[in-house]
Amino acid sequence: MTTPTRSASLRWLTPNRFGLSVLLIAAFAIIPFAGSDYLLDAVLTPFLALALAALGLNLLTGYAGQVSLGSAAYLAVGAYAAYNFNLRLHGLPFLASLVAAGFVAAAVGIVFGLPSLRLRGFYLAVSTLAAQFFVQWTLTKFGWFSNNNPSGVIDAPPLAVAGLSFSGPVGRYVFSLTVVVVATLLAIRLLRSQVGRNFIALRDHEVAAKVIGVPLLRTKLLAFGVSSFLIGVAGVLWAFAYLRTVEPAGFNLDRSFEILFIIIIGGLASIRGAFLGAAFIVVFPLLLSRFGAALLDNVFDSGVLEMSQRIVIGALIIGLLIAEPRGLIALVDRVADKIRRRLFRPQPGPIRS
């Protein structure tokens, strides 16, 4: 039984949606004006790109249960594909290159997802390593991908969409934010459809899913395709909006692990978890190195600080895997839930429907 006085529009505005709207308004309307160049360029833009990549991996690993260690390869495919579309097809709008790069990454992802039809778990993770090494090797080996630049480094062209330039720090941030928000909404939509339920069925029990009629082959390949599409788009943002230069070595195995750690720390099978984890991975080292430098200026050099950061992240991953496999987001939810109960004590009587 709900309170009858609530109007329809208010009913739409659940606390979650309200929070999300506030966040989006702040991200679009306040941060571009209030944030410093450093915040926009060095913190928020890489955060957005990594969050999108983590979201992509979370669809595959968190929701569909297929472990992948090839995320950095799809980032690289996206970045190089967008570069080549931009270079070789004159007059192609940048947004079209962005989407096309996502599709190229999806195609590569589907190819490397094929072993998932026969392999599971650990074995699948190892076979996805093939993507990691093969892509990096291809991009280094064949000069065509980097327009025969002798050193294999490519410079990203300035960002512009439909004549609008997005080349300043604010522009790059707003561009990334828009792309990430649209991609996230699409991912949410997908997860709430039959496909999303198929992903979860596949993860929870493959045989049972098959018995109830989930098309395994299609679902698995779709998971690989959608996931690498999102990661490919994230790669374009990483290369064009953030670094503005691309080299194959920047997409090494470490980057794949970084994205995997984001979803482990943030929370598997959670969209907010991908964002929280990405924020943690981007911001935590910065905070540690700056506070460390401020507090212990003369005691430790930057080397010691780096090491301590690795130790903390490593310990956190082990701790989370043991104590809270659902990641930081589960902790956040629990705390939020407690606060909510404190604030809105349930009133006596049959109020809850």
């Binding site: 002798p150 480094v153 230069t245 070595a249 430098a293 600080l305």
Partner: protein, 442 residues
Amino acid sequence: MLLSRSLRTAALAAAIAIGAALPVHADEQFFPLQSYRVGPYAAGGTGFFGGFIDYLNLINIRDGGVNGVKLTWEEGETQYEVERGVEVYERLKNHPGVAAWNPLSVGIAYAMIDRITKDKVPLITINHGRTDSTDGRVFPYVFPLLLNPYSETSGIVNYIATREGGTNKLKGKKIVVLYHGSPYGKETIPIYQLLADKYGFSLEQIEVPHPGNEQQSQWLSIRRAKADYVVLRGWGVMNPVALKTAQKVGFPVDHIIGNVWSNSEEDVIPAGDAAKGYVAITTQASGAEYPVLQEIIKTVYGAGKGNLDDKKRIGSVYHNLGIVNGILNVEAIRIAQQKFGKRTLTGDEVRLGFEHLQLDPARVEALGAKGLFHSINVTWDNHEGDGRVTFQQWDGTKWKVVSDWIAPDWASLRPIIEKSAAAYAAEHNIKIRTSDDTAVSQ
């Protein structure tokens, strides 16, 4: 009210006290350091940035700064990774009085070219970097000082020629270049090909994937190719592994010529015996016998302000490179001060200093660096400055210089550099500078 009045008086007194306590802002010139003390390349990073900081400290302690302008710096760890370098750049770029950036990483330098050009601050890539940035007409703010990769290539080939008895003897010889699989490693591929065509030696270029701790197959192909010389264009752990693997397959070590990033103690000591007799190019001699190093030991390390933890590394190749880098940066500031006054300079003013960085052997001697490096002659359109190279051989305990100061074949390299720079200018809509528009912008 008594209370409020006394409060007001107290506040006023406090304000005056704080105002008096704040020092008059002294002139300072700031060096943001994108250093790396962790990760696979920490040996190079600690030595180079250690030497650089040691020299800056020497200037501060001994001279009280450059004409009274104190040198300051702040380190940000990059681990040699591009995105960390970019983060440090964004973090430190707004610090007042930035003199120049010295990332010591090709990848980071590439990512910074757009940014520093917009911000009008010099980017120094001593002994490495993007070769065509030598052309100051297109890259006003980038300085691959002393030695760009093409000059290094030419210097190495010239050295091999002198060992064979002249460039005409190179015909029919087989040279293998073993390069690090990174932007840095690949930079010289076309130029080796060009020199091979010019002198008629046969050439094979083999990549070692990063980080390079497994090279069995590469060295077997070198053996199969019956190479006369191997040029080692390595970095970090790849170098000792190459020397050890060469010994295993029986390739004579004195026919391996190391490039400028394969020439340090850290490259040969881990290889042990396998490195004895190995020859490598350098722009700066190793050893601590030079007056400037003696002063650093006395003044900086004597005061407990030395940057190297391991004092045995004082005078090592990377440490000395850091010191030479310090000399070049400080002299550029000094030269710019002669023009603009003894105060904190803008990045663009320091850029003009670098463009007039001309240190002849007499000036190098006055700086206490005679024999440490030869000379430099940077102009507005030549941002490398015609550094000389020398070759050193490892005798098992230290490097011994085995050649004179050799000049690379700059004249024949310049047209290739200009062509590549012109292509970059066209791609990025850059107007090619003439000698008239080198003035500092306001």
